[in-house]
Each structure stands twice: as C-alpha cells, then as structure tokens.
C-alpha cells in the first residue's frame, strides 16, 4: 500500500502527461509537459512558441495561471495520499479496495477533464483568426497520435502519470494480499 502512495506522490516529481508536436520546421519537435501544478516545455520559451503557433488559427493562449485545475489538483493528490495512509493504518482489505476505486474514479474524472480542456482549446477559436480552415479540429489527442493540419500531435502519459497509474494495481494488490492472508 505504501508503494501505491509513493507512486501517487511521484506526481509531484514528474509530469503527468506529455504532448509533442512535430512538423517539418520543428524536426526536434515542441514538447509540453503537464504537471499537477504547472504546464512546462522542453525549453523556457516552449509555451510562448506554442501560443504563437496557436494564435494563427485563433486558439486561446495557454496560460497556466488561469487553469484552476493546476491549483486544486495538488490538494486532491495530497488528500488521496493521506486517505491511502489511513487505509494502511486500518489495514483492512475493504479500505484498500475502496481507495483503489476512488483513485480509478478520480483518474477517469481527471482524464475526462483533460479531454474537455483539450476540446475547448481545439474548438473555441477566435472569430477573427488569421487562418481559418473549415472543418479542421485543432484538438490534440488525449492518448495517441493525431494529425492536426501540418503538425503531428503525440500525447501519452509521462513518468508521473505512469507511476500514478501503477498506484491502482499496487493498491489492488495490497487489498488482495490482505484478503488472502485473512
């Protein structure tokens, strides 16, 4: 169970998600990292460069300060970790499974929130955008690879997200072992 909590807390060390944009002019790609409390790039100028690209088609600027999730998400993770520790202290399989279900539910909610956020950026375009492409969607994928006009967008969980995902089987195993031993 402690492994599960430690895996979850890795979110404070590593980014959750990683989105890379590839185009002929960007042979090394432009990579954004979504952390639980910030959005960063592979260089200090990345976010500005992505915003410059986005403004041609009228996408909103990505301003981490204006994304509320980045503010309360760390508290959710801390609270969840605290609950995990309580479950460990009680040391009953039911509590482990309950925590596991809670984590799955919150993960699904988080990914759905991420999807909504991407949908909003990809579809809520300024009416006076310099470049308008009828029918084009600029929404990056949640998971996988997608062609967005001249860019190939690649979106996968990053190290923090992978560890957080591992917390689910870890917690499940903790419950399962407990159940077997009693």
């Amino acid at each position: 169970m402690f492994l599960a909590v430690i895996s979850l807390l890795c979110l404070f060390l590593f980014p959750m998600w990683r989105i890379t944009l590839l185009a002929p002019q960007y042979p090394q790609g432009v990579t954004m990292y979504i952390h639980i409390n910030k959005i960063a790039g592979d260089s200090p100028g990345t976010l500005q460069n992505v915003n410059i690209l986005n403004h041609y088609v009228g996408m909103k600027f990505i301003e981490p300060e204006s994304i509320p999730e980045l503010k309360y998400f760390p508290y959710i993770i801390l609270g969840l970790s605290f609950l995990g520790l309580i479950a460990a202290a009680i040391n009953k399989s039911g509590f482990y499974f309950a925590w596991c279900v809670l984590l799955v539910a919150l993960s699904v909610a988080g990914i759905y929130d991420f999807y909504l956020w991407e949908y909003d950026y990809g579809h809520d375009l300024a009416a006076n955008a310099p470049i308008k492409i009828p029918g084009a969607s600029f929404q990056p994928p949640v998971f996988g690879v997608k062609q967005i006009i001249n860019f190939t967008a690649i979106s996968y969980p990053a190290l923090g997200g992978i560890f957080a995902g591992l917390a689910i089987p870890f917690a499940f195993m903790a419950g399962w072992i407990k159940q077997k031993s009693t």
Partner: protein
C-alpha cells in the same frame, strides 16, 4: 625530375616572378584538376541536413570580416562582421555596435583583417574564441564562438600596421601584435629619410583573461624593421614568440628591390616569460599612448568604448635576455613552430630553400653567447649555431608552413604555385601538389597548434583566373581543399571565398557545437531601453529626442501605429525581439533611414536612429520572413510639422491609443 628546370631559372626571372611567369614555365603534367580522382565528390559530399565535420574560419581580408565555412563541403555558413560596417546586421549602424568601431582616430568603418587565431588550452584549440587582427588601423578583435559575434576590439598604439598578429600562446595567455611598418617613436613630424634615427618597430603583448577579456600587458621597442608574421612557441618553446622581419636594410622607398638586398633578415625571438619578470620588477617605461578598448556586453546587448592613455614599454637595452635575433635567409614571411615546439620554420620568401631552426640549439647558442653581433642591445645569434636544417630546392617563394601531427610539414610556395609536403628532421620532400593559382596561406585544422587534425589541407589562393564562371574584372578568391590523410595529397574541392582570405583556422565541429546559443534569454536582457513584453512598450519624448520602445513577436510590432512625431525630431526605435525560439529573428526597416535595417535575434534589443525629415505617414516593416503572416508585420509612424500640437500616441490593434 623535369621540375628542376624551374628552379634553375635565373634569379632575375623569379624576382619578376610575382607574375605567373614561373608558374607557366612549369605547367604540371597532371592538368588543372591535379590528381582529382573519381571518389573526390563523395569525400566532400555532405548530405542534405547533415553537418560538416569541421568549422573553417577565414579572414575576409580587405572586407574586414570573418567568414565561417563548413568542411569538407566548403559551404559558407555565416559572415561575421568584425572591422567593417555590415548593413545586413546593422553592425556599426545601430546605436549598440557603433562603439565597436571607435579608435583613437575616431570611428573607422573598415579594416583589413588577416589572421584568425583560435583560443588554445594546452596547445590545442578549445573552441572558446576566435581572435583576428586589423592590419590598417592596428587592432585585434575577439569573436565569441557561442554566438559567433564580435565581442571585443582592442586598438594597438605605437604601431604602424598590425600584420604579425594575433598568434596566440598555448594557454591563451597572450595574443601578440607586431607592427608591419616601423614608424617614428613617438610619432612626430620628421623627414622620411631620418628612418634609421627616428623610426622604431613595436611589438605588443595583449593579455587574454578568463572570460576572454583583452588588455595591453606590455610593448617591446625594437629596431625599425618590418615585422611580418609570428607564431608563439608551444611545448618546450612555450614562453617564447617568434616574429619574422624584412627590410632589415631599413629603406623607405622602392622596397621591392631595396628591401631584398640582405642575404639574411632576422627572426626575433621574444622571451615573454622574461618580459613578465621585467614587468613585475618595474623595469618598464610608462609612456603616453592613446588606444581604444571596445567591449560588447551580451546582457546589455550594447558596446562601450573606453579610451586609454598609456602603455608599459620594455626597452631591450634595459632588459637582457628578452630578445634575440636569429639570422634567416631572404626576407622570411611566415614563421611556423612544429607541434612539438622544437622546430621553427623560417619561410624565406625570396629563397628556394626553407630554413628550419632548432629551439634546443637556440637555447644552447644563448647559453654559450654564440653571438654574431648586436643590434641596439639585442644579440644576433650565429646562424649556424641555431639552424637545424634546410629543405633544399623545395619550390619557389615559400610563404607558410602547417603541420599534420604525423611528423610532416606542408609549405605553400607562391611563385611555383604549389604545396610541398616534407618530413621534419630529414628535410626530404615527400610530395607536391599544384594549386590554382599562387597560394598564400594554407591551413590544416589545428595545423599551427600542438594538436593538428591532419585530415584536410586548405590552400588559400591569391589568383583565381579561370577557375569559376567569370564575373567581370573582379573575381572571388579561391580556396582549394586537399585530402592529406594518405601519402599523396589529393585535390578534392575548389570553393569561392569572401574578400581575400589570408590565414584561416579550422576546428572539429564537436568542440563548438555543444556550446552554441540558440537565442538570448529575455529575462537576462539588461538593455537600458528594453521592453520585456508588450506591456512595457511606450513612446517617450525628451525634447526633440523620441524613444520608441517597440517589441516584435510573430507577427506584429507593438505598437504599430505611432503619432505625434515631428519634423526635426530624432527618433530612436528601440526594438526588442520577444521571441524565445531558435532562428526567429525579426527585422526592422523604416523608409528613409540613413543607416541600415535592424536584424534582431530572439531576446535581443537593438536601436535604429531615424530622422523624420518630411511631413507624412511613413511605413515600417519586418525585413525577415518570420512567419506565415510576415507580410502583415508592418506599421505606420505619422510625422507632423515641427510646430504641430499633436500629442504623442501609440497603439496596437483595436485598443485605444495610449497617450
């Protein structure tokens, strides 16, 4: 050896032979492509998107600049403005770089750049800086190889022309400067015929600090000869510098004959470690001398020029052991030290032999006081006590020698238009390759360091003639590249160069590429007129001076509509490029500017001074195709009559103008 015929030509022919006469009399049998073989193309082919293996830095000669090429492709990568104005990059035109070209003689917009020299650590090129001399108004410049820009220029006082320069010491302790033309010391209104009494030749040691910063450490006052070229010792000869001389006849007119009479001129051997001791002991004279020192600050994106008023001068009579003269046949041009530091090659340009001195023998001759005579307190060592050997009948008109690190030397011969490969120690000629035509300097990457990279040799030719499509009377100078990795030199490539490349330097790209900067971090910008975001943009009037704090980002200026400027104002456009991505410069041009455009790199601020002369609405625009909406990157500035009461205002987009 039918070649011997050319060496047997009467002397009069090869004195006149600075034409192609000698060359045309010994046309090689190999034709004008040399030993070009089928696989030459693949050896110089760098596939699209791939990098060259070496950087080559070539002096721009009378262009005053430095060009950067890739090897083996020969492709031109960049022109670095150094001593001359460059309207493309606003070098010397914008307010920030004008101080770089200041001298004690005022603003000098041009010079004649000759010898690039890379910084060294333990005798190896280290890729930090490139130094180059300005020959006409004596100066040395330092280029920073993280940004490939000129960062510093120091003026050399008491000099008549800085030719034997910069020729660095093995840990970049000093770059040197020797005057090609001796001049009255101190400068004075004297008869030219009083040369012997009143003229002197000054050598200068410029110290190089940890961050590359230069300062004049000391000067050494020598007899009035012409100081031609130099190289600093390395390894065992570290602590010494060798300067060639000609015109030891001390003539002032028709030098082509008058200065070619002495059988031997001298190589001046300077013990600079000894000089440091004398400086520490206070055995110098502090003399008045005006010299400018110009430094570019990478954070302020601006240069400052400081005028200095004195230098420390060492007089050899007061400083025994500081200078020795080594007699060397026939007006030696280049002086080159082999990678071990033992052999000093005197390239006697009016001789068919190459004279090689031994550093060990030189020290012994000094120890034994094997002096022939003395000139102004400077011992002249006995030639036969110092000479190690000679490469006999190697060619005509030897100028320069470089080394491959495998015990071989390569000497350029101007008159016989060839590179001759010979063995150090046995002095035997191993191979020769024709050049097209009349080679001056030659360059092997690291070839004048302790650690040569002996793969390619570049011949820097003085005459081009029929090598390329004709371009009227004026032709580019031609470089040629040879593969020297095998026993025989193999011509691989011709490529055109800018101005007249005298010397060049080459270095493995891997020593430079990891340190190259892609843009300037905007948060480090300390320019006094910076605007670190569009919120900082404004227009400020101070009397008739109007300061426009302008920003650029794809794809607009902020502000792009400006009103309230009047005829007679001085308008300073301070343009900050907000981009933080590689290769997104923005340009700035305004109609009627009497100077140039600006070309601003990401994170940088540059200033264009503009005089509105007529009433009207004047457009300005971005000159660098920055994005899909580059053509929309434009603005207007309204110019009102001098007595107008229209207030200053500025705006971007739909917002209300700010006043």
């Amino acid at each position: 050896m039918t070649r011997l015929n050319c060496f047997q030509l009467p002397g009069i022919l090869w004195l006149a032979g600075f034409s192609l006469l000698a060359f045309t009399n010994c046309t090689p049998s190999g034709g004008t492509t040399g030993a070009l073989s089928g696989d030459a193309a693949s050896q110089v082919y760098v596939a699209p998107g791939e990098y060259d293996e070496f950087y080559a830095f070539m002096s721009g000669g009378f262009s005053g600049q430095v060009t950067v090429h890739g090897l083996p492709s020969g492709r031109l990568l960049k022109t670095i403005p150094v001593f001359s104005l460059d309207a493309e990059k606003a070098y010397g035109f914008n307010e920030e770089t004008k101080p770089m070209l200041q001298t004690s003689k005022g603003f000098i917009p041009w010079d004649d750049s000759h010898h690039p020299e890379l910084s060294q650590t333990k005798g190896s090129t280290d890729g930090r800086w490139l130094f180059i001399n300005g020959n006409n108004t004596p100066r040395i410049a330092r280029i920073d190889l993280t940004v490939f820009e000129t960062m510093e220029i120091i003026e050399i006082p008491n000099s008549g022309g800085n030719h034997s320069s910069p020729f660095i010491t093995e840990n970049s302790e000093y770059v040197v400067a020797g005057t090609r033309f001796s001049v009255p010391y101190p400068q004075a209104d004297v008869a030219i015929s009083s040369y012997k009494e009143n003229f002197k030749g000054m050598l200068t040691y410029v110290s190089v600090g940890e961050e590359g910063e230069m300062d004049i450490a000391f000067q050494i006052l020598l007899p009035a000869f012409d100081y031609d070229l130099a190289h600093s010792g390395k390894g065992k000869s570290h602590g010494w510098t060798f300067f060639t001389t000609y015109n030891t006849e001390q003539k002032t007119s028709l030098l082509e004959v008058a200065a070619s009479q002495n059988d031997k001129d001298y190589i001046a051997a300077i013990n600079w470690k000894k000089a440091e001791e004398y400086i520490a002991q206070g055995k110098f004279r502090e003399v008045p001398a005006k010299w400018a020192h110009n430094v570019y600050d990478e954070k302020k994106h601006s240069a400052t020029s400081t005028m200095n008023d004195k230098v420390k001068v060492l007089i050899p009579e007061d400083c025994p052991g500081l200078v020795y003269f080594i007699p060397t046949p026939k007006s030696p041009h280049g002086v080159d030290v082999d990678p071990t530091g033992e052999y000093i090659v005197g390239n006697g340009k009016l001789s068919s032999d190459l004279t090689v001195h031994s550093f060990t023998k030189m020290l012994a001759a000094i120890e034994n006081k094997a002096y022939e005579t003395e000139i102004s307190g400077i011992p002249v060592l006995k030639f036969e006590e110092v000479v190690a050997g000679a490469v006999k009948d190697a060619g005509l008109g030897p100028l320069h020698t470089e080394f491959d690190g495998r015990g071989n030397a390569y000497t350029s011969f101007f008159i016989s238009s060839e590179v001759v490969k010979w063995k150090i120690g046995t002095w035997e000629v191993l191979d020769r390759a024709q050049t097209f035509y009349s080679i001056g300097h030659l360059m092997i990457p690291g070839g004048d360091s302790a650690d040569p990279d002996g793969k390619y040799l570049i011949a820097l030719n003085k005459i081009t003639k029929d090598r390329y499509l004709p371009t009227g009377p004026e032709l580019c100078h031609s470089a040629q590249m040879y593969d020297i990795s095998g026993d025989k030199m193999k011509l691989l490539l011709d490529f055109p160069t800018m101005g007249e490349p005298h010397y060049a330097q080459g270095i493995a790209a891997s020593k430079i590429v990891p340190n190259v900067k892609k843009f300037y971090p905007i948060e480090e910008n300390e320019h006094p007129y910076r605007a670190l975001g569009e919120k900082d943009t404004k227009v400020v009037r101070e009397g008739t001076d109007v300061h426009v704090y302008l920003t650029t980002i794809r794809s607009h200026f902020s502000p792009d509509n400006i009103e309230g400027v009047k005829v007679g104002d001085k308008v300073y456009f301070h343009v900050t490029n907000l981009e933080q991505d590689w290769d997104v410069p923005h340009g700035f041009a305004v109609m009627g500017a009497n100077n140039s455009e600006l070309l601003i790199m990401g994170g940088q601020t540059e200033t264009l001074l503009w005089y509105p002369k007529e009433v009207g609405v004047i457009p300005f625009y971005c000159t660098d195709f920055c994005s899909a909406l580059h053509q929309e990157m434009q603005g207007y500035i309204r110019v009102s009559p001098a007595n107008s009461s229209i207030a200053l205002s500025w705006s971007l987009g739909e917002e209300e103008p700010v006043q």
